[in-house]
């Protein structure tokens, strides 16, 4: 291989004027985490809502929930981001469209909304699976005790369902973080985009990508460890959870 390695590149000042190339990566990491975390909150809220209405004894809410999941699951994330970023501002009234286009950090907000909705369909599937996994007697017992449907969900079904689906939710959270890299196509300068920029400025392509790879791996390990801790923390003593 006639490739000149230069690991010192990360300590050299970046062409942006402030900081080193390594600082460039860190700023990218900050955007990756911010986008991933906000999108995850969005996905969790919408996904839980849709997952719940898909288990209600009502034909219309189930139908709406199913349509929602199919819509967001069957279009690639990249295409969905393009729809939010390029198409939506053209379809709303002109004044709102202009406001959307001139929004500072528009690509960040678009990424949060786009990735949030995309992941919410997957969260909805998990939430629904978690509720269905509970014995039917649980909701019946709740109703028999005089709880309303909303109270049954709040105090009986959801607390157990979320504990059951915590492991799959962990991997959906990791997917959300990974999916933020797709947003570089709409101009979000996150970690992968930063690695790409270093490659363009300095031509040290493999150093930049190796660093980004290591950062992603560390982020993964940290989140996995945190979620394992959360699983232990919320575990109900005596309730087996499959073990």
């Amino acid at each position: 291989m006639n490739y000149t390695w230069n690991w010192g590149i990360f300590l050299e000042p970046s062409p942006e004027g402030v900081g080193t190339y390594f600082d460039m990566l860190l700023v990218g990491l900050k955007w990756t985490i911010a986008t991933g975390a906000c999108a995850w909150v969005w996905a969790l809220v919408c996904g839980s809502l849709i997952g719940v209405i898909r288990t209600l004894p009502n034909r219309w809410t189930v139908g709406f929930g199913n349509a929602y999941v199919e819509l967001f699951r069957n279009i690639p994330l990249l295409v969905q981001l393009f729809l939010w970023y390029f198409v939506l501002p053209e379809l709303v009234p002109a004044s709102i469209g202009l406001w959307l286009k001139q929004l500072p950090n528009a690509s960040f907000f678009t990424a949060v909304v786009g990735i949030g909705f995309f992941m919410s369909a997957r969260v909805a599937e998990q939430v629904r699976a978690g509720i269905i996994a509970l014995p039917r007697g649980q909701s019946m017992a709740g109703l028999a005790l005089g709880l309303t449907t909303a109270q049954t969900y709040r105090y009986v079904l959801l607390p157990m369902a979320f504990r059951i689906i915590l492991p799959p939710l962990t991997s959906e959270f990791l997917n959300t973080i990974k999916n933020t890299s797709v947003a570089l196509t709409i101009g979000l300068i996150e970690l992968t985009a930063r690695a790409r920029a270093i490659q363009e400025f300095s031509f040290q392509v493999f150093e930049a990508f190796t660093a980004a790879t290591l950062i992603y791996l560390m982020l993964n390990l940290l989140i996995t460890a945190a979620m394992r801790w959360l699983e232990r923390w919320v575990k109900i003593p005596g309730y087996g959870q499959g073990k």
């Binding site: 291989m1 006639n2 490739y3 199919e70 819509l71 699951r73 069957n74 279009i75 690639p76 994330l77 990249l78 295409v79 969905q80 393009f82 729809l83 390029f86 198409v87 053209e90 379809l91 709303v92 009234p93 990791l174 990974k178 999916n179 933020t180 890299s181 797709v182 570089l184 196509t185 992968t192 690695a195 790409r196 490659q199 392509v205 493999f206 990508f209 980004a212 790879t213 992603y216 791996l217 993964n220």
Partner: protein, 230 residues
């Protein structure tokens, strides 16, 4: 709102979109799925083997691939493959690799990690008694795996493998970052040339939706049929 929606733009772009874009996307999906399943099965066998180091190597590969964003992996291979080619062919400069070959290598290697997890679950779904029965009959490892375990594993996992193929089909849209005219890339090219982003992106979304939705409906039907037989 939709007042200046121009169907003619889509109509004019249709031959290019289908003949260039969709053919690229579908070919890439089919070849990467085939390669990914073969490589994934090998990785799964490595991971379940009792030989030293093989399980660790396979696990390391699979876990690394699964923790990285596909976009980063696409960039990695786009720059790395010319150097690997140079090393393999012993030429004196990095060889030029076409866009299709580069993305095919990327998707095969990337999706193999996901297919291997599916195949591992499939192999483990077959009871160990069958493995032992095979050995007791005098079959060797190859014969036991090839004629007893793997056919059943494939059959049990067929719906999951096909679902992963649909995911792969949607993932191929990410070759956009290399400016390759796949289905989305073709739509994007026309959109920017004609300044008709609304029409072309909505059309691309509709195309992806139609194919994925039809395919996943068929997979669900297959799942029900297999469930009845077993």
């Amino acid at each position: 709102m939709f007042s200046d929606f121009d169907f003619n733009v889509i109509w004019r772009a249709l031959p290019y979109m289908l003949q260039e874009g969709l053919v690229f996307t579908l070919t890439l999906t089919a070849l990467a799925t085939a390669g990914g399943i073969v490589l994934g099965t090998l990785l799964a066998l490595m991971r379940l083997s009792s030989l030293p180091f093989l399980p660790q190597i396979a696990a390391g590969y699979v876990n690394t691939m699964r923790s990285l964003p596909l976009v980063l992996v696409i960039f990695w291979f786009y720059f790395l493959v010319p150097y690997i080619g140079q090393w393999v062919l012993q030429s004196d400069r990095p060889i030029a690799v076409g866009a299709f070959a580069s993305s095919l290598i990327t998707f095969t290697l990337f999706e193999a990690a996901y297919f291997s997890e599916i195949m591992r679950a499939g192999i483990q779904s077959i009871s160990r008694g069958q493995l032992m029965a095979g050995y007791a009959l005098g079959l060797n490892y190859r014969q036991v795996m090839g004629s007893v375990i793997l056919p059943q594993a494939f059959r049990n996992m067929a719906p999951v493998l096909l679902t992963q193929t649909i995911v792969l089909f949607q993932d191929t849209s990410l070759v956009y970052v290399l400016s390759i005219p796949d289905f989305l890339g073709a739509a994007s090219k026309v959109a920017q040339r004609d300044g008709r982003l609304v029409e072309m992106y909505l059309f691309a979304a509709a195309g992806y939706f139609l194919i994925s939705f039809t395919a996943s409906t068929l997979v669900k039907r297959l799942q029900r049929r297999i469930a009845i037989i077993r």
